[in-house]
């Protein structure tokens, strides 16, 4: 498969999970796109952490993304570390792990790989493509690149381009990894080392950006960890420190440092308007006409990593392209992470949007009373 960077990747492996049953006319498939550190384990327990699937609150039997009705697919992105080919896999050219010899990948590359998977599964048109954060970037790319193969889509808590602030945060994470002597210029696997400290710091810094000040304060305040008073040292004295350290330490068990570099870089490069002459609306035009894809954008009021104004900019571009678009800003103090949490308003909107789309797609008979 040709990549945006000019290199080619192949043959490569795509690891994916499916849930539910594909119907006879193959019209009920939903593709879920995961975020930076997500994976294909949407519903079922994670094989390493043993925790429930990352979107098991939204996707499953009887849930808004109902696996009794829809055939749900989620694949690990290329460059990932949960089975799809990434920097930790063996480079057939050298017989050693790719490491930094892995080609730099982009969001469009991830989507092209997913398209190959969808073709392989014999699905011509996805009923819906859903994703949050980096997953939302992939959703936008799908809608823009393959409008004839996508009936509807839900880009959630995302943006049409990564902001300078977000690139800056990603760079802090990458520098933390690279500053770890065990990173070894990216060749740590050959030397049987792991830059756990650097990757943990990267995760800690990123995790702060997924929360909000209000949520952090509500959860931890200035509470101390297992002690009555401050001890004038650099232990994790505050609960918030202990929490972040835990986030960092557990993350390194399930994630590869080089994958983190590559995937975070792909986010930085994402700029949908730049790929269309600097006009975002052009990303959603097909032969001069508005896109046939139905959109539902969702943002969260306290998300400062992908603030509502980013979603609103996409909505304005979609309006300019006369697209069929819904947009809801969900009121919450849980920050960017809200898209993964129990947000009833978000889940009702997702359910309502999918119901409406199912009606238009002919998956359900037209409704009676509204």
């Amino acid at each position: 498969m040709p990549l945006d960077c000019g290199a080619a990747l192949g043959p490569f492996t795509m690891a994916y999970r499916t849930y539910g049953t594909l119907n006879a006319d193959r019209s009920n498939a939903i593709l879920i796109c995961h975020a930076l550190t997500g994976d294909q384990f949407v519903i079922d327990r994670h094989p390493i952490t043993g925790k429930p699937g990352w979107w098991s609150i939204l996707v499953g039997p009887g849930l808004p993304v109902d696996t009794n009705r829809y055939f749900v697919i989620c694949s690990n992105v290329i460059g990932g570390c949960m089975g799809t080919t990434g920097p930790q896999d063996i480079d057939p050219a050298t017989g050693s792990p790719y490491g930094l010899n892995f080609p730099v990948i982009t969001i469009p590359d991830m989507v092209r790989a997913q398209k190959l998977l969808i073709d392989h599964l014999g699905i011509d048109k996805l009923f819906c493509v859903i994703g949050g954060s980096m997953g939302g970037m992939q959703v936008l790319e799908w809608a823009s690149r393959y409008p004839e193969h996508v009936f509807s889509c839900m880009p959630i808590a995302t943006a049409a381009r990564h902001s300078a602030q977000n690139i800056a945060f990603n760079e802090v994470g990458r520098q933390a990894i690279m500053a770890d002597p065990d990173w070894c210029g990216g060749a740590y696997q050959i030397l049987d080392k792991r830059p756990h400290a650097g990757l943990a710091v990267a995760r800690m810094a990123a995790h702060i950006t997924y929360l909000s000040e209000t949520a952090l304060h509500r959860k931890f305040g200035r509470s101390l960890q297992d002690r009555k008073g401050i001890t004038y040292g650099f232990d994790a004295e505050f609960q918030v420190e202990s929490y972040l350290r835990h986030q960092g330490i557990t993350f390194v068990d399930r994630f590869d440092a080089n994958s983190y570099l590559y995937i975070s870089r792909a986010m930085d490069y994402f700029d949908l308007a730049a790929d269309h002459g600097g006009v975002l609306a052009n990303a959603f035009r097909v032969n001069g006409q508005g896109t046939p894809v139905r959109f539902c954008l969702v943002s969260f009021s306290s998300d400062w990593l992908f603030p509502s104004r980013e979603s609103r900019a996409i909505v304005h571009a979609l309006n300019a392209a006369a697209a069929n678009v819904s947009f809801v800003e969900v009121e919450t103090d849980k920050g960017h992470d809200a898209f993964l949490l129990d947000e009833p308003n978000f889940h009702q909107v997702a359910h309502g949007f999918l119901e409406g789309c199912a009606e238009h797609r002919g998956l359900t008979p037209p409704r009676g009373p509204r």
């Binding site: 069929n324 819904s326 309502g352 949007f353 789309c357 009676g368």
Partner: protein, 218 residues
């Protein structure tokens, strides 16, 4: 924006699915051709859009300021965005819709003239409804009692009202004329919601409580 009136006294029109449709919404719906593309600005909880989709197979979209309204709309499968008539209409291309509808919202916008100009640009036709500030009860309140009017359709005290740009039917006629907007059709609702009441026909600006205009750009 949720509808700016608190009027519940109007007789409901029969609706296919049983739910009552306010008479002014029914009159708006009557102006819209089946199967057309409609943008409802200030669509509230989506009552009109839902009716148009069910009864007239309309391809409808909405803009609504209140989160509750947007949430209600999208949850029932309507295509609605959270947005503001004053700021968001500029993004829509010319003639993107057959009809741009502004129901009971004009008086709550910051720049009604600009909003109106966008309506007749975005829609091949525009449908605008608003409460008539020239209605005799309004005049009575201000002219005789000397207080800001609070009626069935203007149900807010002056200090809490979101309605900041009231006009009379005559004012609206003038605004259309001065901006090259053609009035294709006009329905005046009197006290008993009868557009044919002789009083409303005789002197709409005095006896009309609400007005619904079908407009297009010249």
């Amino acid at each position: 924006m949720m509808p700016r009136d608190r009027g519940a006294a109007l007789a409901p029109a029969p609706l296919r699915h049983g739910a009552p449709l306010r008479i002014d919404l029914k009159l708006v719906a009557d102006m819209i051709a089946p199967g057309s593309r409609v943008l409802d600005i200030g669509c509230g909880d989506g009552t009109l859009l839902g009716y148009l989709a069910d009864a007239k197979r309309v391809d409808g979209r909405g803009i609504e300021l209140s989160m509750d309204g947007v949430h209600a709309c999208v949850s029932q499968g309507l295509s609605v965005i959270q947005g503001d008539a004053d700021t968001d209409l500029v993004n829509y291309p010319t003639h993107a819709f057959d009809y741009a509808v502004l129901g009971q919202t004009l008086q709550a916008t910051r720049n009604p003239r600009q909003v109106l100009q966008h309506l007749v640009r975005i829609g091949r036709h525009a449908v605008v409804s608003f409460p008539n500030f020239g209605y005799w009860r309004v005049r009575l309140a201000l002219g005789v009692r000397g207080t800001m009017p609070v009626t069935d359709h203007l149900g807010f005290a002056w200090w809490e009202t979101p309605n900041i740009h009231f006009c009379t039917i005559s004012d609206f006629d003038h605004l259309c004329r001065d901006n090259g907007i053609i009035i294709e059709h006009r329905v005046i609702l009197g006290r008993r919601s009868e557009s044919t009441a002789w009083t409303s026909r005789l002197h709409p600006n005095l006896f009309g409580e609400q007005a619904i205009f079908l407009l297009r750009h010249a």
